[in-house]
């Protein structure tokens, strides 16, 4: 074991040296061709996380982009474990012209590394203009976004005699009852695996409160998990679903991989997840026409809402070939068709998504709630209190006395908040 580790380490060391050598050479080349008058020419490198697109779609992108800008030489470099590796490369100063911004880099650090992108003239208004911004300047352009709602099997709905998708919470429960009566498991919660509960933790509270900053606002409160908080309201729906038997028979014994097949075959009817799961259900054997997508009704008002969550953001190295890099970012957003390929909701507000399920989703006219920037204080308190919020959801749903669970976590929060904000 020890030998393996040492081997791995030395291999990694070697690789880092080689990589560093390569990229420093790249940079020399690119900076050499950056001209002061902002001409779009020279070499640019895009550091991407989509290793699967290298040699396929990217070849096409390169051809089309270089047709439009004949003086530019566009290269792609794909790496895995993107966030961690990007951080290392930024720290060592050897990152290429266009990168993807994720979490981990505080917004206040942007001016140190990246060029402001406000002077790119996009053909339309953008989503998430202010998310990767600092002091009024935009440093990141969202590559696309996704939403969360109910992904459902239309055949299962038809079998249970549900002709119209539910628009209110009561209708949702009624539809679930019909499915249950037919022997179909209404909603696949994948409770055991924890991460599928993120929708109940982040997105449903956003819908309920009509506000995407609820996680940040915890920083202002000593008891953010009150009985009437958006969290308790969200988790009460899940509790109720579990009590009525609308979830898997034993929610502590669920199987994610199997659930995709079961949804595809109509043994399970629904998921509450992001639109990314649609293609996975189709890959597991469902006909594309049989998979639908509608906004999750969290109350009986009939007013539908949905969160809008950004994917990676494009950022431009301020020491790189900035003009060509900006042209590339604009081209990626407006012409590449990457958003459709990835199944995203386009960043240009007026552009319609191509995925049929997203068109169906939009036909119910949900009001989209854009995600806001994250707040370091709330994260810091959460880390200090060591609150595993997914386990918290589990505990709340399983508890005989949910109020006690809320009390416990509120106390943890309050004492952590005291030590975090007190020490500053």
């Amino acid at each position: 074991m020890k030998r393996k580790v040492s081997l791995l380490l030395s291999a990694m060391l070697l690789l880092t040296v080689v990589l560093a050598a390569c990229s420093s050479k790249e940079k020399e080349e690119t900076t050499g061709t950056t001209s002061a008058n902002g001409d779009i020419k020279g070499k640019i490198v895009f550091l991407t996380n989509r290793t699967d697109m290298i040699g396929k779609q990217y070849n096409d992108y390169k051809k089309r982009f270089e047709e439009k800008y004949p003086d530019v030489d566009l290269e792609f470099e794909a790496i895995t474990d993107y966030e961690k590796n990007l951080k290392v490369r930024i720290a060592s100063g050897s990152y290429p012209d266009v990168v993807l911004l994720a979490g981990g880099i505080p917004n206040s650090d942007f001016p140190k590394y990246f060029a402001p992108l406000d002077d790119i003239h996009f053909s339309d208004d953008l989503y998430f203009k202010d998310l990767k911004a600092f002091e009024g300047k935009m440093y990141g352009v969202s590559s696309g976004s996704s939403t969360v709602g109910i992904v459902y099997n239309k055949k299962a709905f038809a079998a249970a005699g549900i002709t119209e998708v539910p628009k209110t919470l009561d209708e949702f429960y009624a539809a679930s009852q019909k499915l249950k009566d037919k022997g179909i498991v209404p909603l696949a919660s994948n409770f055991k695996d924890k991460w599928p509960l993120d929708a109940w933790l982040y997105d449903v509270p956003t819908i309920i409160g009509n506000d995407s900053t609820h996680q940040n606002k915890r920083a202002d409160s000593d008891a953010p998990y009150g009985m009437d908080s958006v969290y308790a309201q969200s988790w009460n729906i899940l509790r109720e679903m579990n009590k009525q038997g609308f979830l898997e028979k034993d929610i502590n014994s669920t199987n994610w991989e199997q659930s995709k097949k079961d949804v595809a075959q109509g043994k399970f009817a629904m998921y509450l997840l992001g639109n990314w799961v649609i293609n996975q259900v189709i890959e597991n054997g469902a006909a594309a026409n049989d998979v639908g997508f509608f906004p999750f009704p969290t109350d009986n008002s009939g007013e539908l809402k949905a969160p809008l969550n950004p994917d990676f953001f494009y950022g431009v190295n301020k020491n790189g070939n900035v003009p060509a890099a900006k042209a590339f970012v604009q081209w990626m957003i407006e012409e590449s068709g990457f958003d459709d390929f990835a199944g995203f909701i386009p960043t240009l507000k007026s552009k319609k998504p191509q995925l049929a399920q997203l068109s169906e989703f939009n036909s119910y006219n949900p009001k989209f709630i854009e995600a806001g920037p994250s707040n370091d204080t709330a994260t810091e308190i959460n880390n200090k209190a060591q609150i595993d919020q997914e386990a918290f959801v589990q505990e709340y749903v399983l508890a005989d006395d949910p109020a006690k669970v809320l009390d416990k976590y509120n106390k943890m929060w309050a004492s952590a908040k005291k030590s975090v904000t007190g020490s500053k």
């Binding site: 055991k192 880390n383 060591q386 595993d388 399983l398």
Partner: protein, 294 residues
């Protein structure tokens, strides 16, 4: 060059140069990180920042004062209890399979085989066994008329014992093989002589076998105790610590403290405490097992 030196000098050079490499590797990859760990346990490092602020014993105070941290050791108890039973079974099978049993090699192989399997593969395998609705265990129980809807991995009171039983299945054969080797090293004539003196099976076991494998029992208990304290792969894959944290073990807690909550200092302190806990349990065990021996 070596030819001109005396034999003893050559020997020294060879020995030093040959031990140097493994020693260097040992120091670099075992002792240096261990020292760093102890150093980190006195800081509040968040895993990224350049500064590591010295916080003295704060992290250790937190480990012992926060019931959420130290309390998870309760979950490890199940593995400890099952581990003891596992050792009893291992001795039992070793004694049986040492005798002239037909097909004993096959049985030895069958019992040892689970140990060879990869831990994560075993976890996946048992995921299908313990599944409530489609699992093979509940199907079998239902088939013979017992309740078939037990939530093996979903009941807080049961889940740790369910997981520990997988450990039993996996490591019992390994313990058995060690016992078997020890048993085979006991000279046959001791048993012969005792038979002539009229000893029965139990007396032979009690007065010949047991004293001879004492050291090996100690070794196996050591492996069991450290195994119980350091359990990680089974709950991590099978339950992710659920339901609601009921099967979270101490090592899982360390990992989430460091990598989820970015509290590397506290996690380091927890690791050091785990190390000390193993040493403490071992000392107690040695004290009781060696009483009157030396």
């Amino acid at each position: 060059m070596l030819n001109r030196m005396s034999i003893s000098k050559q020997r020294t050079i060879i020995i030093v140069s040959f031990t140097l490499i493994p020693l260097l590797l040992l120091l670099t990859f075992a002792y240096y990180p261990a020292l760093q760990l102890i150093h980190l346990s006195f800081t509040n490092w968040d895993g990224m920042s350049q500064e590591k602020e010295w916080v003295g014993w704060d992290n250790y105070a937190e480990v012992f004062n926060n019931p959420d941290i130290f309390g998870v050791f309760r979950h490890n108890l199940a593995y400890f209890f099952v581990g003891i039973v596992q050792n009893l079974f291992a001795i039992y099978f070793a004694v049986i399979l040492k005798g002239k049993l037909r097909g004993r090699n096959l049985f030895r192989l069958l019992l040892f085989l689970p140990y060879i399997l990869n831990g994560v593969a075993v976890a996946y395998l048992f995921g299908y066994v313990f599944d409530t609705t489609n699992g093979s265990l509940n199907t079998v129980l239902g088939g013979i008329g017992l309740p078939n809807d037990t939530s093996w991995l979903g009941m807080k009171s049961l889940v740790n014992y369910t997981l520990a039983s997988i450990g039993f299945w996996r490591f019992m054969g390994f313990n058995m093989v060690i016992y078997l080797a020890a048993l085979q090293s006991i000279p046959e004539d001791l048993y012969e002589a005792s038979s002539i003196d009229g000893a029965n099976g139990w007396q032979k076991f009690r007065f010949i076998t047991l004293p001879n494998i004492y050291k090996i029992i100690e070794l196996n208990l050591f492996l069991t105790v450290t195994g119980a304290l350091e359990v990680f792969d089974l709950p991590f894959v099978l339950t992710t610590g659920g339901p609601a944290g009921a099967s979270e073990t101490f090592v899982m807690k360390i990992i989430s403290t460091a990598f989820q909550f970015n509290n590397y200092g506290l996690a380091s302190a927890m690791s050091v405490v785990l190390l000390l806990a193993v040493v403490a349990v071992l000392s107690v065990q040695r004290y009781f097992l060696n009483r009157g021996n030396d």
